[in-house]
Symmetry: C2
Subunit: 420 residues, 2 copies
């Protein structure tokens, strides 16, 4: 029987060239974050289905690849729903597993705990160009640090990493969930409709401020409230002066520490930053995940259309596992987008080893072949890559292909000219 | 609702210390294999269930984590068996996915194609100490090389890697499927019972030669055949002389090229090897997987009880996907066993960076904190790891914990002695 040659729908095979770039980016990420004292951990790719369906993941919970129960636990004749058939699922992000990991191991972990995770996640999304159903996420998270020292460190570490990969002239946009709420209160929107307001504001990039106005009105909000709300985005600039202005406008609607903390984060990061980027106060930044409780931030790289990673503070999520809240803040880097950009721009990995190809005639004696292998081993000791490969009939074509793979040095070995 | 804190049954969480070792071993593996011209590829963790259940995987096919169909494809009321419910599964090894990958992409790949894979596989095995349901495999494979140049290269690359990790005084045991068959023919065992003979021979390590004799007799084989067969293992030594003796004994039962090839591989590897190990001819080596067609080999490290990886030639597997056979040979390194051994032996990763901890008083002003962060950034530029962390009330205990995490340098920052 012939088997199915294609990979499963919506999942990608990684060819050698892409793997080189992926490995390089992973190396820069892990080395840079390690230099900030982040330690790497890993959780299983499978999680208990009850954790995955616990309403932490929003829309992603609809996209879970669920695993069939096994052995006696699978009772097909009595199963009346999906829930009877599955006990585990593939994780859809790294945050829920990390929070579970922290809850399970907090006693053994340092405080604060600074975690780096790099791992695959799975979402049964509709397949589309550039989006795959298995993809890598790279997250850093700090548990147990309530102050904005956490945010400052996450942003410095992430931007240092992006700078080392070679990105320039990008932005870190920052906002605060509590500020978003204060803005809605200030406008006079009903408290229980805050979610709706955020969903509409989140479209600002796509539909413009007029579009936001129209959608808010269509939702039945009053003209006065909508005008007051949208006026904020016209008045407030994307810098520290804008933040100050926002404070003046909102008055008592916003707690002073929310503004102070945003101000400190922006000022401190700007003072210490080592990469070429700008901190931007963005009162229209929303970020989808419902678990954020404070600061939220996003990476905007000019070469991309949209966001290339982001994060925020989620001080209530650990409490869902343990009953006791623990301050937590995380930043996720858009690994797949970064790799795609490097791949398409013909990125050359810095410091690559010299690559030599030894082409040998098929008719070499075993003793001659041993000499070739010994010479290759010597060069490898000097740090070179040496490919030992049989000479093809069309040697010219073979060398062209090897050149395309990055081989720059060639040596040929013939049976009758050996021992020279 | 409180969620489930434990990882799913039989799967492991990786703590920072283990991750450091895993990353180090992966780094040595990928760098060393790359220096031999192996290129890394990756396939999705999920495979079409038809490929996984195609009888390539032997007993492993019973241990597949199967994924539930989604959306309209899932028709619970009409499902009468597991097969109706699942369309994918988590891979149980890296060989079936690699062969599929090669079949799908052969036109774009070099010939011979030398692949390195490092990835997780899943088996729903009964949980037991040191064996997990998710574990990493590291495989190298060569496609399109029919001669024993493939075996020589695989063994040299793998042993160089093991040597670089620090293993000494180990053995590579080698045998040949065709030699195993010739031995059975020589003894007069019926051809169709070759599988049974191999299963019994495979227990030699555990039950000894007398045990093998007894089991063969219990299977109904004649005393003459069993004596002749077991006599081979008493007569033949584990070296080149033993191989020569085997050839004399078997006579026409074995094709001359089988012996020649084993002889060449052992001689060539011994002549070129860079690590401290021995090639051992082991006529009792069987290896379970049914797809092997020629040489088979195994790593034996004295610190372990059993095997720590192995491989062999499987020239017929690509044909199952494409209808056309392609010579193929692979070697898998026992990644999890190696990590476990290093972890338990208190292994120190060579060339680790100097780690400094900056402890700062909570009452620092933002401007003072910025100075601390700048100083940390300077040291990181020099290649050091710098953890910036709030000073605890019990500073002595905090430093002890940090020392245990590998921090050797401490600096303290106080609000009132700043600017000195």
């Amino acid at each position: 029987m012939e088997l199915i040659k294609k990979p499963v729908t919506g999942m990608k095979e990684m060819m050698p060239r892409e793997m080189e770039i992926r490995n390089y980016v992973m190396k820069v990420i892990s080395e840079t974050y390690a230099s900030f004292g982040f330690t790497q951990i890993e959780t299983p790719c499978l999680e208990d289905i009850r954790n995955l369906l616990s309403k932490q993941g929003g829309e992603n919970e609809k996209l879970i690849f669920k695993v069939l129960k096994r052995g006696e636990k699978l009772n097909l004749s009595e199963a009346s729903s999906e829930a009877d058939l599955t006990d585990m699922g593939l994780r859809y992000d790294l945050t829920v597993p990390l929070v579970r990991f922290y809850s399970n191991n907090a006693n053994e972990l340092p405080t604060p705990f600074k975690a780096l995770q790099m791992g695959n996640v799975w979402r049964a999304d509709r397949p589309q160009r550039g989006r795959y159903r298995q993809f890598m996420q790279c997250d850093i998270d700090i548990f147990g640090e309530p102050s904005d020292a956490a945010e400052i460190e996450l942003i410095l570490a992430t931007t240092t990493t992006l700078g080392k990969i070679g990105f320039k002239n990008f932005e870190i946009r920052i906002n605060e969930r509590r500020l978003l709420r204060a803005m809605a209160d200030y406008a006079g929107f009903e408290g229980d409709r805050f979610g709706t307001v955020c969903i509409i504001l989140d479209k600002l990039d796509k539909i413009g401020l007029d579009g936001v106005k129209a959608e808010l009105l269509a939702e039945g909000f009053s003209v006065e409230s909508v005008d007051k709300y949208c006026g904020l985005f016209e008045t407030v600039t994307n810098d520290l002066a804008g933040l100050k202005k926002m404070k003046e406008l909102l008055g008592d609607s916003v707690a002073p520490e929310v503004i102070e903390s945003l101000n400190d984060i922006i000022e401190s990061v700007e003072a210490v930053k080592t990469a070429d980027f700008k901190m931007v106060f963005d009162p229209s930044l929303v970020r989808g995940m419902g678990y954020y409780t404070g600061t939220i931030f996003e990476i905007a790289i000019p070469e991309f259309g949209g966001s290339c990673g982001g994060g925020g503070r989620y001080d209530k999520l650990v409490g869902n596992f343990t009953g006791t809240d623990v301050p937590a803040c995380g930043f996720s880097i858009g690994f797949e987008r970064i790799v795609l950009l490097l791949l398409e721009s013909g990125f050359q990995i810095p410091g690559s080893k010299e690559k030599c190809a030894f082409l040998f005639e098929k008719s070499l004696t075993p003793a001659q072949y041993v000499k070739v292998l010994k010479e290759a081993a010597e060069l490898r000791k000097e740090g070179k890559t040496v490919l030992v490969v049989k000479m093809n009939k069309n040697k010219k074509f073979q060398k062209e292909k090897l050149t395309a793979e990055g081989y720059t040095d060639f040596k040929e070995f013939y049976a009758d000219s050996f021992g020279a």
